[in-house]
Symmetry: C2
Subunit: 329 residues, 2 copies
Amino acid sequence: MKPKIQDVAKVAGVSPTTVSRVLNDRGYISSKTKEKVFAAMEEINYVPNDLARSLYNKRSYLIGVIVPSTSHPFFGELVAHIEKICNEKGYKVLLCNSLHEADKEKKYWEMLHRNQVDGVIVVTYNRGLVDKQQQFPAVAIDHYLSENIPVVSSDNFQGGEIASKELLEAGCRKIIHINGDANLETPANNRQYAYEKVMQEAGRTPETYHVPDVAFLESNIDIIKQLFRDHPDVDGIFASDDLLAIRTLQYAESLGYRVPDDLKIIGYDGTNLIRSLYPNLTTIIQPTYQIAAYAVNTLLQEIDGELLAVKEKTLPVSIWLGKTTGHAS
Amino acid sequence: MKPKIQDVAKVAGVSPTTVSRVLNDRGYISSKTKEKVFAAMEEINYVPNDLARSLYNKRSYLIGVIVPSTSHPFFGELVAHIEKICNEKGYKVLLCNSLHEADKEKKYWEMLHRNQVDGVIVVTYNRGLVDKQQQFPAVAIDHYLSENIPVVSSDNFQGGEIASKELLEAGCRKIIHINGDANLETPANNRQYAYEKVMQEAGRTPETYHVPDVAFLESNIDIIKQLFRDHPDVDGIFASDDLLAIRTLQYAESLGYRVPDDLKIIGYDGTNLIRSLYPNLTTIIQPTYQIAAYAVNTLLQEIDGELLAVKEKTLPVSIWLGKTTGHAS
DNA sequence: CTGAAAGCGCTTACAG
DNA sequence: CTGAAAGCGCTTACAG
């Protein structure tokens, strides 16, 4: 049996109340008593039960994090940041990989509720996760969830704009966009709008190809092939995801295109991992650390009952200039 | 105030006991009562409090998972598998990124203890995490922790052997190994031993370069440079990590080496991500799904008090033959 | 088939 | 400075 506060009390010759006080450093306790209690805890190897504590305090210091999957570099990095920041602030992370499945998200959401998490950070591209009633602290990343839930994201429109202009300035004549699942309301939609706007302003005709799901690369290759069949004269591609960009680059090279001479490519996300693996790939860098930090801080404010000034935060992106759009390495 | 079982009882006109029974589907309850209770739960939007449940049952259905960081593709993928399998079995994952820091690992371990996790899955390459007393269900991945904790890993010796032989068979004359931090007891050590054995058997002199930490790529480049300064005639490199292999490949190419003509390279881990991003890279594939599955299943057996037949499980690896060791793509 | 009571391990007013 | 009592929300023998 695990020792409990009572056992400590017995050994120390005090009441459970006193032990609890020592544990929480609350109220006045003589230093002699304190020592006795600490010694007793040491002696019987006492470890406090946070479940019981949380139950009474109605505060679990648990944060639920719902993302598509940590196996995707963007979310792997994002989650690592979130967890680190939470840890620094004394919060623990309950991890949920939704794999983009709406019903999984729902089940996870309810599970987190049952587990009395203090709040949740959620990245979902599906509609209707939250019903009107559902009132507990939450922060959404990238995608609007419901009226009372703040949204943190990087500036996807700006990203799309920068990317499109980069290709334009690099001299591309036929610029095509590849985006993710058209049925999902991803932040990439704004990248597409920006692309379309930039193209139109430049007097070009925008054209976007949609792959089923950026995470499952195998199923994407057919769309990429289609793109090159339809437009062998393509000389600029803006992909809304680095993995997609790299996949496209590989396929193009297998077809004989030389990058960046015949074809320029720009990706999106710019995680540390990808920049390290493919430093040559021009890409839009999302500030994952800032997104994580803002999300966690906002959530903790909500949890502490503070009024939020900002319901929607957009963080600036930057561009990583690589060889795939013609820059020196 | 969140509704509790008492509130449901009041609305349904029954006792809390009965509500609990309906909730847990335990004992006989008339279907009429059942309906009343369900209706009441619906009406007041009742969500059970798992903290209270866990406290009484001494079972939290919580699994702690300690890894270096989900931002590394291998661990991102591993954690995704672990979480998925846990979820399927009704367990929740408390995520801990230790960043290889021994004191973080200790703190996490204790935190998990306080939170009454049913068990933990831990990947650490530091010594002394667990003191003799510490008795709760745990499974270690890759690295021996203590006598009663089963270890699951893939066959690192086999992996090192296959990799080394691949280079040998590809005709390399000077084969060098790059490994991670020599101070950490990583599974990569076994890969090194295998490399040394294979080299010696072939009448070669093994030589290993150690980078500070495979995860922090920036700091590794100096060692890689050193390697090429020391051995410009190197024509085969076995890197104990794909990121390292790719970094090496990039540097070699920047130096003018042509891969695979002048230099053959083989990596390690072979995650889905890397194979998709760098299909050309020959690499040893660790069976991450099987590792995850075996770890979770073993842990659940421990939790259920079953006696474990196997204290140490080694899963076979396979090789992904790519262009970097001269295979057709 | 259903309920009153005690308890999971902790904490916090309330006394003293 | 310290303790007895009640309660956090749930569950499970024990009665009936």
